[in-house]
Amino acid sequence: MNALELEGVRKSFGRNEVLRGIDLAVAEHEVVCLIGASGSGKSTLLRCINLTEPVDAGRIVVEGSEITARGVNVNRVRRRIGIVFQAYNLFPHMSVLRNVTLAPRTVLNRPRAQTEKQALELLRRFGLEDKAGEFPDRLSGGQQQRVAIVRALAMDPDLMLLDEVTSALDPELVAEVLGVIRELAAGGMTMLIATHEMSFAREIADRVCFLEAGVILEQGSPAEIFSAPRELRTQQFLQRIVAAGRM
């Protein structure tokens, strides 16, 4: 059974059709990177899978159950799908520890001691244990983004969606966040990653999908996509990336 299946997913904002029929299957433990120009629909696709945006047509199936069916409890779906945003979106009025334990405590009704123990373990795993009592404003961007990833992990998701999680970071802070994602992949986490970090995608992805104007124009192993892209559009996109010195 696939961890995630998309069939003919369509989404428009007004007259602007952002997703024009996306078909994609992600296997358990697979890491899929979405690449493509800004506006190609990467972020919208992730937001649809998280049900932040309702789809106009098509089906999304997570672990065998359709989440786009009528009457589905969106809160239940979101518990199983972790999402991390470009701008971290930590809760500024809560300590790091509270940021991480909020959802397990209020959504899963786990006892406080248990959630704190789990949170501290996760923070330790990602080198953030000494930040547990800090408030987000005191942390660097890289630290904040790592906390955001830990916050999503605390819900034990089946699937993680990462939406350009390094795009808001200073270059010297990117590596620490990529290190966290690398560790997640090594741990077998199923991930769908929208990214502009081509060399990282090449290194970490099992499969790379190139999005263009709301469809997956080409997909394949990193070697196929980056070394021998078949589509002209993919070639042009990668040439621009190389010219910009980003690969």
Partner: protein, 293 residues
Amino acid sequence: MALEGDRRAGPEVAPDPAERRSRILGLGGSGRRGVAVAVTSTIVVFALLALVITHSSGWPEVKKTFFDWSEFKASFPEIARAFLLNVKIFCIAEVLILVFALLLAVVRSLPGPVFFPLRALAIVYADFFRGVPTILVIAVLGFGAPALELRHLPTSTTFWGIVALTLVYSAYVSEVYRAGIESVHPSQEAAARSLGLSRGATLRYVILPQAVRRVVPPLLNDFIGLQKDTALVGTLGAIEAFNQAQIDTDATFNYTPYLAAALLFVAITIPLARFTDWLIARDRRRRQGGGVA
């Protein structure tokens, strides 16, 4: 919040407290010399003002009717006792307003067409009670409601005065809350919902705590207004500070008791203002000064 993506590295350097204070008071950045100039000019201005007033032809008469020390001493204890009623009124009203206004603001932020009637009701409420003069609401409720002879409800003027003030000030305070709720960036709600929090839990744990923190200063502003408006309950006959002062002046034809009442009102609002400043500063320290959870 719109700049969230740009807020990258470490904390900003907080300005030195003394420097910040001098900036707040508008003393200019030049430290001790700036303070000296400010003090001198203040003394000069006030000395001139005092000179002009005390040398005006009507001054002896004004002094006798408004600043009579023996009158002050004689009337102050009773006015202070009456002022306790003002304190009681605004203490009870403030608690009720905090709860009721929050309810109104939350109702107004409910999404979707289903809740339209409730939203509309909240809007009409806020518009109406902000538009009607407080003294009219107090008069209508204070004289009208007891006349209904409703069972199980008190008929005391204090009770209806509190109800009237709560109705009027909840309209203002709900708008303050609403501004706070709307100032929290939508990405905060998105983050909370993406973790599986329900709309209610998101409001309770993520939106409202941030909203309320931001609106503490305007909230206090409304409460200062409320504290002064407790004097309007005196129009119903309740013996609060202003009414007591009026009784005293009517008896002696000396207006010094008004001064005594005024001082009492001021004496209670100033500590409240400083307390709020302290609350805000403490919150900022906690969020940016790091340290304990």
